[in-house]
Amino acid sequence: MRYLAGRTVYMLVILAISSVAVFYAIRLSGGDATAARLPASATEADRETLREVLGLNDPIYQQYFTYMGRLLSGDLGNSLTNNALISKMVIEHGRNSIILGAAAFLLVFVVGMPLGMLASVRRNTFTDQGIMSLSVAGMAVPNFWLALLSIWLFASVLGWLPSAGCCEPRQLILPAIVLAAEGTALTVRMTRSAMLENLDSDWVRTLRAGGLSETRVIGKHVFRNALIPIISLAGLRIGQIVGYALIVEVIFGWPGLGQVLVNAVLRRDYPVAQFFSLVLVVMVVLGNWLADLGYLAANPRLRKT
């Protein structure tokens, strides 16, 4: 319980610090925030009035607290480019992002863990080497390139899948696979080494001496032990997927948070960029916090006696 409370406090501190960092970073990025709102013909007086209205002349710490106060009361503000409610954008695009992210996250474990287990059981055979070579490839190939390659192969050459768009299941397949590739490769390696490490334990011999079958010993006991490092890194996979989603969503025209964020930055739409950056930060930090919870749940040695 103390561990849990500690991790939660830690998460909140990280969140507070990163909200400040995001807020300052957006302001450091330069450019005139009024340029997006006012026509080019606007006078300096007009711009000054707008700055005053938007509170841009206040000291930056005061701007931060005003902004956070509004956020916490549920007022996310509007987009500078089309005046759309940011709260509505988050819901609409967030849903798409969650679909894509969840699909990729599932793939990472549903594909990665069995492959890793297979490689460990067939240690040093052709199967093991094949799986490990694939996983090296999965880690080495940058995902923007993998995205282009898969579009070329499966959409242009073979014509099996659409190259882009949203939000049919068929359109989800390619971006989800590309987004999951690196995490899957890492999960394969992690599962394999965690399984191997535990396969050599003394307690494996005890279970065998008790007459348990290899399926039981490996599938239940060794796997259960191997889950600890896998689960503790699952949260990092969330962060990784959130980060890569920026690129993958843009390439596959998947209208998620990442795509909105990229567009907002390109158009200097500060309120949107600021808020969506914050959302990504929250997701990464939350992912790490969930990993801590999972680690706690998976490891009886950390539970209170």
Binding site: W203, A209, G211
Partner: protein, 326 residues
């Protein structure tokens, strides 16, 4: 004497390293009888544990394999028994206790879970019946507060308590044969006697046959009925315990006995046997003990002695001499 319960005949186990196979257990033979403790002693690396694991069919595969010999148990040869049938034997008819209780229990599951899983593997009983059996087994090895222990995890128990759990696990299905591989070596000295006591009490009560592997000659002298001394993968001398301790014949056995500290008689440095056990890849062609032996003949360097039975003793030596006080 009655028919042996378990008869190991010319057992040979090899380990493969970098494509070359070395014999780590070489033609080992011994019998185990009901209600009897056979002590298996020798230095580290002499093949005691590999012998036990070979009997259990638990040698690390594919690095090691049994290259020859039989392990006769009833009308079955355990060496050629299919793995599926061997699993029925393990934990039920023959069970084993390992050296290090701290690492020998799966840390992810409660004591109760581990015990009942093995019980239900061998007996078709309900969960609650299995729990009752496990609880009784824990009570029999005098683990304090067994009900609470059932729901605890291995890390919550001390080394001594964990070894009691291991003993309970090995005994709960009433095996005919128990192999105890250095069961007290990893424990505090104060706990060692308690654990040994529990083990002996259970062995006598059940009339079980026990193979006690140890390098502690004091333990062997106190509890074993017969003793086999191993050196370099071979049994070099085997005799009833009183005979072996009062009249050791093999120079290696004599060396071992002399190396036991005698607080009453001796002063000065402890006796040691010069040199060390040859690694399996460098076993000399003649008697493996000849390079360390003070009474070796030329023949000992050239010819490999056989294990010869004589007056209820088995001895593998060309030139036995009576033990002279050091």
């Amino acid at each position: 004497m009655a028919a042996p319960l378990l008869s190991v005949r010319e057992l040979t186990t090899v380990i493969r390293t970098e494509g070359i196979e070395f014999e780590v257990v070489r033609g080992v033979s011994f019998d185990m009888y009901p209600n009897e403790i056979l002590g298996l002693v020798g230095e580290s690396g002499c093949g005691k544990t590999m012998t036990a694991l070979s009997v259990m069919g638990l040698i690390p595969s594919p690095a090691a394999r049994i290259a020859g010999g039989d392990v006769l148990f009833g009308d079955r040869d355990l060496v050629s028994l299919p793995e599926r049938e061997m699993r029925e034997v393990r934990g039920d008819d023959i069970s084993m206790i390992f050296q290090d209780p701290l690492t020998s229990l799966d840390p992810m599951f409660s004591i109760g879970h581990l015990l009942t899983e093995v019980i239900r593997r061998h007996r078709s009983v309900s969960r609650s019946e299995a729990e009752a059996m496990a609880l009784q087994a824990l009570a029999e090895v005098e683990l304090p507060d067994p009900e609470t222990r059932m729901s605890q995890y291995p890390h919550q128990l001390s080394g001594g308590m964990r070894q009691r759990v291991m003993i309970a696990m090995a005994l709960m299905l009433d095996p005919d044969i128990l192999i105890a591989d250095e069961p007290t070596t990893a424990l505090d000295v104060t706990v060692q006697a308690q654990i040994l006591d529990r083990l002996l009490g259970q062995q006598r009560r059940r009339g079980m046959s026990m193979l006690l592997i140890t390098h502690d000659l004091g333990v062997v002298a106190a509890v074993a009925d017969r003793v086999a001394v191993m050196y370099s993968g071979e049994i070099v001398e085997q005799a009833p315990v009183t005979q072996l301790f009062s009249d050791p014949q093999h120079p290696y056995t004599q060396g071992l006995l002399r190396a036991v500290p005698q607080t009453r008689h001796q002063r000065g440095a402890l006796h040691t046997i010069p040199g060390r056990v040859p690694p399996p890849q460098f076993v000399p062609p003649g008697c493996p003990f000849s390079p360390r032996c003070s009474q070796a003949l030329v023949r000992c360097w050239e010819e490999h002695p056989e294990l010869v039975p004589e007056n209820g003793r088995h001895l593998r030596c060309f030139n036995p001499q009576p033990l002279t006080p050091a």
